[in-house]
């Protein structure tokens, strides 16, 4: 009785595999025909491997996809285990390009130096970090770094209402405190995320040192919330609670402005409140933003003939689309203003000789 059903399932399974197999051969022949039209000399030979920040990965991936039409034979692998992991591979010479959502640390630079790896740092884009709350939360529109510290910093462990942070905020000179007497529901990235690190570094660290002294015995950030690695889950958390607070990469916030509210931010209490937009991030008037980088191995620029043409394409023809449309036609990062872009181009030209 049920054997018929089972046979059907088995057939379906075989079909799936077959379809995939046929699809595979189609795909590879596409690649071959695509490359036939391109000049092999310009593309060089070999494969390119990039690794590092999962934030930058979409930019490099988009550049690699666009490169398929130009040099289809060059196989480009782009992994995104995280900035630190990326440098660990880069500094042992395993990867050609390292994606990074921060500048290289001294310890990582020493590792590179010890292995004789010379590199060129190329700033490629800006990423803002949006501070979010629920659209129904009309009590709050603009927060300063001090307010964020009073609600999210190391000394706020255990605060389960916004009001609980009022004294701390007022003591540090906040002009917004007292905060509304409502539940404080935090939905934010977890410790493994570069966005978590960046938020601490840009927003909390300075205030924490001011408030607790250099040693910051209570830590920079409160430890009593459950962070989440998936940005979409963070967004859902914000949308699901009327008095939520959290932060997420700008690209994710822009995609969801219908269900979350981005807060304007000012560095000093009483300063000008700035909403995160592409313009305010590009001209650095929005205070919570960071640079996104790629690091290129200098030796490989000469030893791997495929690398230099790809980086040139990345910073040239692919640049605008790869950065501004990294996630799709209307979601991406903020491209560099002309003067910084010129510096990046000059840095690459110097390295490529």
């Amino acid at each position: 009785m049920s054997t018929k059903l089972l046979r059907l399932l088995a057939l379906l399974f075989t079909f799936t595999l077959l379809a995939a197999a046929c699809g595979g051969s189609d795909d590879s022949s596409d690649g071959a025909s695509g490359s036939g039209s391109a000049d092999a000399g310009e593309c060089g030979e070999g494969s390119i491997s990039a690794s590092g920040s999962s934030t930058v990965e979409p930019i490099t991936t988009r550049a690699a996809e666009l490169y398929e039409d130009v040099c289809g034979d060059i196989q480009i692998t782009v992994d995104g285990p995280g900035t630190g992991d990326g440098f660990a591979l880069f500094c042992t010479g395993e990867t050609d390009i390292s994606d990074a959502s921060r500048q290289i640390k001294d310890s990582e630079a020493e590792e590179c130096a010890a292995n004789g790896i010379e590199y060129t740092e190329l700033l490629v884009a800006f990423d803002g970090i949006a501070v979010l709350t629920n659209p129904n939360n009309s009590a709050v529109d603009c927060l300063s770094f001090v307010d964020l510290y009073a609600l999210l910093g190391g000394e706020s462990d255990g605060f389960d209402t916004w009001a609980a942070g009022s004294d701390l905020g007022a003591g540090l000179g906040s002009d917004v405190a007292p905060y509304p007497d409502a539940e404080l529901f935090i939905s934010a990235p977890g410790t493994e995320s570069g966005t978590y690190d960046s938020f601490i570094e840009i927003v909390l660290e300075g205030v924490a040192e001011e408030s607790q002294g250099e040693e910051a015995p209570a830590g920079f950030i409160r430890t009593d919330f459950a962070g989440n690695a998936a940005d979409n889950v963070i967004i859902e958390g914000i949308a699901g609670n009327d008095t939520s607070l959290g932060w997420v990469g700008f690209a994710f916030a822009v995609e969801n402005t219908d269900i979350v509210k981005t807060l304007a931010i000012t560095e000093e209490p009483g300063g000008a409140c700035v909403e995160p937009t592409i313009e305010t991030i590009a001209d650095s008037s929005y205070p919570v933003s960071r640079g996104l980088y790629i690091y290129v191995n200098n030796d490989k620029l000469t030893s791997n003939s495929a690398l230099a043409p790809f980086v040139e394409f990345y910073l040239g023809d692919a640049y605008t689309e790869a950065v501004t449309e990294a996630f799709g036609p209307d979601a991406g990062y903020v491209p560099l203003p002309d003067d910084l872009k010129a510096e990046t181009d000059a840095a690459f030209a110097g390295a490529a000789g």
Partner: protein
């Protein structure tokens, strides 16, 4: 043999029998228990049904409009071009590794433990250890795979820039991961073979090898198959160990076809990794893509299970036919 008479009060027994007959078989506890058990069954079915309906519903826009494309394309940064080819290919080859390595080794170990090994402190130690290994979290196997396989393969394969983080390393890691479960389930199946069957074999002068081959294994085959294929299905759904062994989470630059052997020495990715990657992209466009990838992985696992059930039914029919 001594007969042990149960210590029962005769009057009470009579009373209970009478009550049972008079109530017309309607003991409230009995009925309650029956409904409770039915509820647990319905609950587990409901969870499964909600999951499947939800995922298939989400994925429908992708599966109905561009199934061929979806199976043929690799990971892309545009949701209308994205596919699962690289993940499906990786998962297929990992499955091959598990089947070719952990099944024969695991079943062999089980036969030795059940049929040949004497009951000594050593075999008991091995047995306890295997049971513990089956409960070790999969991430730990990932670390093991990273230390042993990735490091080991660094030498012979390292020159093509593959640095040991290859399909081979991933396949070996998941084969080791499923090994304890294969051994345990196979050993249970072999232990369930009636002793009289073996004795009958020896009685007509068969050697140990002949008894194991012609009597024990065919009898235990359905049980062994169920266990092994369930462990395969589990291995195909694992993401954590593969991430540690270096599965690519982003774009995998490889033009290799589905069945091309050369890719075994190259970097790889797999379905669970691809699903994670799609699930973490911003925007609603990715929801159907993620759901469709989940449906494909479900179909692959379901396919393996269907094969297992088919084979088991065949073996069972054979066994009862004789």
């Amino acid at each position: 043999m001594t007969l042990i008479s149960p210590m029962v009060d005769k009057d009470k027994t009579a009373e209970r029998v009478r009550a049972r007959i008079e109530s017309g078989g309607r003991d409230p506890k009995d009925i309650g228990f029956r409904w409770l058990m039915l509820a647990t069954l319905l609950f587990s079915l409901l969870v499964l049904a909600v999951l499947v309906v939800d995922v298939v519903g989400d994925s429908w826009s992708v599966l109905s409009s561009r199934l061929g494309d979806f199976l043929a394309n690799p990971l892309r940064s545009r949701s209308d071009e994205a596919g699962v080819f690289t993940g499906l290919r990786g998962t297929f080859w990992i499955g091959i590794f598990v089947i070719c390595l952990s099944f024969p080794i695991g079943i062999g170990a089980a036969i030795y433990l059940e049929e040949y090994a004497t009951d000594s402190w050593f075999t008991r130690l091995v047995d306890v250890n295997i049971r513990n290994l089956a409960g070790v979290p999969s991430v730990v196997y990932g670390i093991l795979g990273f230390t042993i396989f990735v490091g080991l393969l660094d030498g012979p394969f390292g020159e093509d820039g593959a640095f040991g983080k290859t399909t081979v390393a991933g396949g070996l890691t998941l084969a080791v991961l499923s090994l304890p479960v294969v051994i345990i389930t196979s050993a249970e199946a072999i232990r369930a073979v009636p002793q009289s069957l073996r004795e009958a074999g020896y009685g007509v002068g068969a050697t140990k090898w002949e008894v194991v081959r012609n009597h024990v294994l065919p009898y235990a085959a359905p049980g062994i198959l169920t266990g092994t294929l369930l462990s395969l299905a589990r291995a195909l759904g694992e993401a954590a160990p593969l991430i540690l062994v270096g599965a690519i989470r982003g774009r995998l630059g490889s033009n290799a076809g589905f069945f091309e052997l050369g890719q075994l020495r190259e970097q790889f990715t797999a379905m669970p990794i691809l699903i994670t990657e799609y699930a973490t992209k911003p925007g609603d466009d990715w929801v159907p893509v993620t759901a469709a990838a989940i449906v494909i992985l479900l179909l692959v696992v379901l396919g393996f299970n269907a094969v297992a059930v088919l084979l088991r039914n065949r073996f069972e029919a054979k066994r009862e036919g004789k």
